[in-house]
Point group: C2
């Protein structure tokens, strides 16, 4: 919960190791020379770090290049499976995908951002930038906004202050005033809409899964092309379907 901490005296050696991992994540496989240049340190230092990370299979050496190991999947899957409602949500999300034939995402909040922990595609579902495990800004998409609206007000302020409101498309919410109006609307409706705010031509609706205090634990969204998800389908039929599913999940969670 909360936000990533500002550590007074972080363990710099560990930060360097994380820096390497992040570099490989962003830029793909790299040689020692490349990593050395990125870190701005001695070649021998980079070498020692890479070999240490390789010993635990976090990194794999292939043709004189280091890359991220599939081992990360193991940790990610375990983290996901331990999430309170993942198992509960999975089957419902699969059902929703079958019923709507559209793309369904389930997201949870971590450190003031949203992470997609499960996705199911219907027959006609579109591919977007969204990816399993990817961190997103809460204000940029339907599931994120649904989560945001059901967090305590002071928490929302904190998050906006920390990350700002960067735009993705020309429809993305970029000012705090707009955001609070939107949150008001979401709280009244019970669900969030995303009208081309994350991807041009893409509409979506999202609804929160709440704990016993009414605070959002995560959210589920349905997304599809703007021309298909529109009018009463987007604003009446889909919300009914989605809120029904979310309601079932919430009840099951309360009795688990």
């Amino acid at each position: 919960m909360s936000l990533p901490p500002d550590v007074d005296r972080p363990v710099e050696t560990v930060e360097r190791a994380i820096d390497i991992i992040d570099y490989l994540k962003e830029n793909g496989p790299a040689t020692i020379a490349e990593v050395t240049a990125h870190l701005g340190c001695a070649k021998s230092t980079a070498h020692r770090h890479l070999k240490t990370l390789e010993a635990s299979s976090f990194l794999i050496e292939e043709n004189d290049e280091y890359r991220l190991g599939i081992r990360f999947l193991d940790y990610g899957v375990i983290a996901r499976d331990r999430h309170t409602f993942y198992r509960e949500v999975k089957s419902k999300v699969d059902t929703l995908a079958d019923e709507t034939d559209e793309k369904i995402w389930c997201a949870v909040e971590e450190h003031g951002r949203s992470v997609h922990i499960y996705g199911a595609q219907g027959k006609r579902s579109v591919r977007t930038y969204a990816r399993l495990g990817h961190q997103n800004y809460l204000h940029q998409h339907a599931a994120g906004k649904a989560i945001l609206a059901y967090l305590p007000d002071e928490r929302i302020d904190e998050i906006v202050e920390t990350y700002g409101l960067p735009a993705r498309t020309q429809h993305t919410i970029t000012t705090a005033d707009e955001l609070w109006d939107e949150i008001e609307a979401i709280r009244e409706r019970g669900y969030a809409l995303n009208i081309e705010e994350s991807v041009e031509g893409l509409h979506a609706i999202g609804a929160p899964i709440k704990d016993e205090n009414g605070t959002a634990l995560g959210a589920i969204s349905i997304s599809g092309p703007a021309n298909r998800l529109d009018g009463s389908f987007l604003r009446e039929e889909l919300p009914t379907l989605l809120l029904g599913t979310v309601n079932e999940i919430t009840i099951n969670l309360a009795h688990a």
Copy 2:
């Protein structure tokens, strides 16, 4: 490739951080006190490490406990998506699951072990210990044995020497002689069988996906209950189906 290296002078501070991550992976969420006890170090040291890892969202603090962040999924999914044949394999595996109604796994080899990078379930597919991202011994299951048989002989020796041949069931191969006989058989047939070697009551067949040199890059397996996967279905129909799929993938890879 190859095996995890024996590092001469590893970065011990990084090893400690990995130790924390592994502890949380094995034992679930833990308090600082618990981590301190596990590491056998000062409370302030554990604190500094935990906060450093939390700053990058690898760990998340919740109710005075630290747990693995869903962020690991991000790294894992990226590592998987970059794998040469993942995209190629995924759609074929989905098709196989539809055609057979059984559980299909796709595994790759890393550091002499196999990792499941994708799984698809058919309507009747069984649930086993197998999990996405989980590391397995190559000799214990169909996909692993298929990979093993198509590695260079000296590599096989290395792997057996490093990890030994631990048993899972009473049918698991546990001696080098048995293993070499099995490898011989697999090389002749072109596919591997798993007759209750990983789970009692579970049969499976696996076939390798090879690069231009004939070395295994990974493998695909079909598994199901022993009573259903048996006789000519297991030894004729399924192999034909599986080898056909694997062949398609191999050809597509060669022209990519």
